[in-house]
Symmetry: C2
Subunit: 651 residues, 2 copies
């Protein structure tokens, strides 16, 4: 349905939004040590010089440089402890950082100060040692010292009135140190921009409230509030507004007088989105209804009359959580930075290769979630699901690949910049696993991370053949398989890359996941046939019915064992194929049909790496066996045992 307002390209929408919001006036005065991560409202200048006095840069003696003129190994010059009023050539002991006496202008380091006979050739002459109970009162110097030798001059680091940090600068720990060192004890920082977040919708319930079909947990406002706080803003979550145009308009009007930005969270339906835009239009001006970015398209950008309200802009944030994340990153983050008078945070990038074609619709900028893994000598970006509703794909993503609106995708093999969503160290510790899904992999990861928190598993599910192909092409570190494998492959065995190592995880039990009590009394696969059962299939070697089977009432397919179990638990299906652990996790019954080996195939280079060794150690640990026992349905007697591969035929 066409909106009566125009949509805008992402960069234009951002420009319009920022042009209407001005950096906040005013400032807040804070003690420097409380100002970490705050943004300076003005350049800050040193109040005192650093150092603020002339001090020793070495442990030694303070002297007058002129008194050392002509000193040499052969002609040492003798100094007496005291000051110029008392002795001819005075010295005093001084430690690094101590103030130079007012009469002194140089330091001789203690290693070059001699006690005993003056001349080097004389026996018994030795450097003075400090600290020492008995420091001599007469010492000798054998080299002439230039004026200001080993002296830290006043203002050597910074001079009073010099700039320390500029305006619009986010204070880091060493800025705190430098400011305090330069006599600055209080700083003026920008006020935190206040962002009001107003969810809308009759269907919303609070976290922890009873879930009923059609009810949605109101988590978006908490997520957006967390974003705002992480950027240095102040988030005010408002109670959800009901679906009533007049009420919503009034709520927006109140929010714009109490905050610097108003964010409305619209629902995910087109009707709701129209409703939100109408409410915004009734109290402000719509700059964009729709932003040409995917996910995120249904965003709204609106402005308020600047003279009369505190907030000058409002954002309509889509209800689908991934769309909400994109709009937060692409519009709200730069807006908060702009209000703080600083530049927007940029995500670090890594260059990675996209293994397959990634088509994208022209006309919209698209942000594609990817997982990254360093396989062999290249970094590979494996795309995740692209649905706007799947918030966990953002959690699992290492970064985002941006496809410009002018492109119709990215060609396989192309290198792209990936904007990171987690620290680089974590990204480079990603172990990419592809293949047959099993709940025990989550447990394996947990055991791995307990010992080596720098590694994580990035999993995606496929058939064995596809998984081994990805391994061969360097798109994964590990393939999880149930079929027998060999380096050559034949009718009975799948081919693995040369040098790969096959390690047994466990023997697992596949069977029928059925409701508790097994109401249909299913005992074998043939019990499924000829009855109107709703059934969930999985790709499996065990000869179970597939989705096309005309003998089955209705069938659909799932990739993940727990998804099969969830279909049974929720009553959408009467039975499905899966492992015992998935039935146990959701409290269902299980009819075992067959056992099979569940194995990991590791690329040779990965198996030899630190990450590979850590993964194998986790697989062979007692902790992993103990956790398998808790999951249930596994035979762990050979867990961690490496399988000998059929020797490759000589070629």
């Amino acid at each position: 349905m066409k909106s009566r307002f125009a949509s805008l390209p992402l960069d234009v929408a951002r420009r319009e939004l920022l042009a209407r919001a001005k950096p906040l006036d005013g400032s807040e005065r804070l003690a420097v040590e409380e100002a970490l991560d705050r943004v300076t409202a003005a350049a800050i200048f040193a109040r005192t010089s650093v150092p603020h006095y002339c001090g020793a840069a070495m442990d030694g003696i303070a002297i007058r440089a002129a008194d050392t003129a002509g000193a040499s190994e052969a002609d040492p010059i003798t100094f007496e402890r005291g000051d110029p009023a008392e002795v001819a050539r005075p010295f005093s002991y001084i430690d690094t950082g101590n103030a130079l006496p007012s009469w002194a202008d140089a330091v001789v380091m203690i290693e070059k100060v001699y006690a005993g006979p003056a001349r080097a050739s004389s026996s018994g002459s030795e450097p003075v040692r400090t600290p020492s109970p008995e420091l001599p009162d007469v010492v000798h110097v054998r080299t002439a010292a230039p004026a200001w030798q080993h002296v830290r001059m006043i203002g050597e680091d910074v001079v009073a009135s010099d700039g320390i940090v500029p305006r619009g600068h986010r204070l880091r720990p060493f800025d705190v140190g430098a400011l305090l060192a330069a006599g600055v004890t209080e700083v003026d920082v920008r006020p935190r921009p206040v962002v009001a977040i107003l969810p809308t919708g009759d269907e919303l319930i609070e976290p922890g409230e009873e879930l009923r079909p059609g009810r949605i947990v109101e988590f978006n406002s908490r997520m957006i509030a967390s974003f705002v706080r992480s950027w240095g803003g102040e988030a005010v979550r408002l109670d959800p507004a009901r679906d009533d145009l007049a009420t919503l308009g009034a709520r927006i009007e109140r929010a714009r007088d109490d905050a610097d930005v108003v964010c409305l969270i619209a629902g995910s339906s087109a009707g709701r989105r129209d409703f939100t835009v109408d409410a915004l239009a009734s109290v402000g001006r719509i700059l964009a209804h729709g932003v040409d970015v995917v996910p995120g398209r249904p965003a709204i950008v609106a402005a308020f009359d600047e003279a009369s309200h505190r907030a000058r802009v409002a954002l309509g944030i889509p209800g689908y959580p991934v769309s909400a994340v994109v709009i937060c990153l692409e519009l709200l983050a730069p807006l908060v930075a702009h209000l703080l008078g600083t530049s927007a945070p940029e995500r670090p990038t890594l260059r990675a290769v996209v293994p397959h074609d990634l088509p994208s619709k022209r006309g919209n900028e698209e942000l594609i979630r990817v997982q990254l893994g360093r396989v062999g000598d290249r970094l590979v970006a494996v795309p995740l699901g692209r649905g706007a509703g799947a918030i966990t794909t953002v959690v699992r993503a290492d970064g985002l690949v941006r496809v410009p609106a002018t492109a119709d995708g990215i060609a396989g093999g192309e290198a792209v910049d990936v904007e990171l969503l987690r620290p680089i160290g974590e990204v480079l510790g990603t172990i990419i696993v592809i293949g047959s899904q099993d709940p025990c992999l989550a447990v394996l990861e947990d055991v791995l991370r307990a010992a080596h928190p720098q590694y994580k598993l990035a999993t995606s599910w496929s058939g064995d053949t596809e998984a081994l192909g990805a391994l061969e092409r360097g798109e994964a570190h590990v393939a999880a398989v149930t079929a027998p494998v060999s380096p050559d492959g034949d009718e009975r065995e799948l081919r693995v890359p040369r040098g790969a190592r096959v390690v047994h995880v466990a023997v697992r039990s596949q069977g029928l996941i059925v409701p508790r009590g097994n109401p249909l009394g299913l005992e074998t696969l043939s019990d499924l046939r000829g009855r109107r059962v709703h059934y969930v299939a999985r790709r499996w070697q065990g000869g179970a019915p597939t989705t096309g089977d005309p003998d089955i009432g209705s069938a659909r397919e799932a990739l993940v064992h727990t998804a099969v179990a969830e279909a049974v638990r929720s009553g959408l299906a009467d039975a499905g194929i899966g492992v015992a652990a998935a039935a146990a996790a959701l409290g269902l019954d299980f009819v075992p049909l067959e056992i099979e080996d569940y194995d990991l195939v590791l690329r040779e280079d990965f198996a030899a790496s630190d990450g590979g060794k850590a993964l194998l150690a986790a697989l062979r640990s007692d902790g992993f066996r103990a956790r398998l026992a808790v999951l249930g349905g596994y035979d762990d007697r050979s867990s961690g045992v490496e399988k000998a591969l059929t020797p490759a035929s000589a070629t």
Copy 2:
């Protein structure tokens, strides 16, 4: 002086430290929305599936897929509003996100639902529009719908019992969203490691206390505390300990029972460092006295008997602030991460070219502070001062270049990884200025950043010739000069790179900076001669005395105008050469001697860039002129005017 304990290479010291400190046991239970940036104590699994019901993925009508069998443009199928108990082919209107009625298993999007005559060929047939006051009760569908079309299935994103985030994971805003979506309202996070920070030394005073020679503001503990907080630890700053061995031992003993890590801040003298190590040795075991990293060498790593104390390790942090920063980054950060059971934060890196040889002493790893700037098509790393005392060099640095202990430096022209100390966006906005120093550049930067917070100036000071050389070689964007220039250069003019643009900043007044009241009655340069005056020289074309001048009582050189002024203010010098603004900043008197043009030379490519345009706009702004007037001593009549260069002679 040799220590009785051995020093260790940095990586060995880190390994020893981490081997003795175990990740903290126990956990803290927090509401998910309060857990941003905290580290998970265990893997977190979904409590409910997402979605938790079958819902519409489109606005439209809910139907039974089987009822659409055979529907086509020519043979539409008609549905009636209601449920299967009331009508033969029931439908109900449904919006995205709404729960599917229990009898339905598919959604037809509203754009494919027709009212009026059933057949497409009939006039008056049109898609139903929502929202609408009058939704028809009879509609037609012209395409068969497969089961589950446009339905978001239960568990499509995540299934109850699936893992959401692993253990040892720092929670991000979208993790908060995903956890709440999956029914998780509370999470167990690692307790914050408590780091006790104990400064030592009789010379320490609190920020704001009266500064006397030899007194040092105790800022290191505040800086270290800020670091600890930024990594997710809890910092406890203890009152400084006096220089007394027994007291210090007792203070350490108390601290190790109240904290997970004890940090002692030693002074900068060798004597104090010995003292600190003795105190640590009296209550624990020294693992390393000295770590082979520069700055940072005097660090101490110690361990406590693990059975009886809360803290298992202690760090002796050097008193020189840059050494302290390095030990924080290299040892304390990984330690805090290890206690949290997560991996250490890594600094993003950028690859940059080192313009000149950077020698470094073999045997120590060295971290060299650099400023980065993209000049032309390459990123250049310009080294900053290497002193351990100059905390402002860390503030000014964009990053650190690491020279391994096995190398004796980095060759000029080599590309290196620079570990960033500020966000990449800020780094890439750096404008490198080299040449003649003037206080007005700080003001220019402030005016620039008020309009364009993404840019900052990185300044270093040199003579005009050296500055223009750096510009030519692509090591700077801008040269700040006082000499006349031309594209060719001759006896009177310095050569600028071809295409460079020369823009006038102001006419400035150079002269003698003298104490208030001008006690020596200096009026001209010749008044300096033949008297025992202490004098500070600057490289200047004006014919002032230099450091070697035999006619002057004593002379030294300073690069920065305010450093000249500080020498005069503190009584170290009777007079010095500088600009009027520097005298005014420190409240001194000024004897004008000569005026000179202060100009900026911009590389052609930089002048054409956004940053160059922004800099020129700042230079030409009224705001800049107003600020020049406040500084004093500038003639701004031609500020911002571009100077025509003598045409290059034809070659």
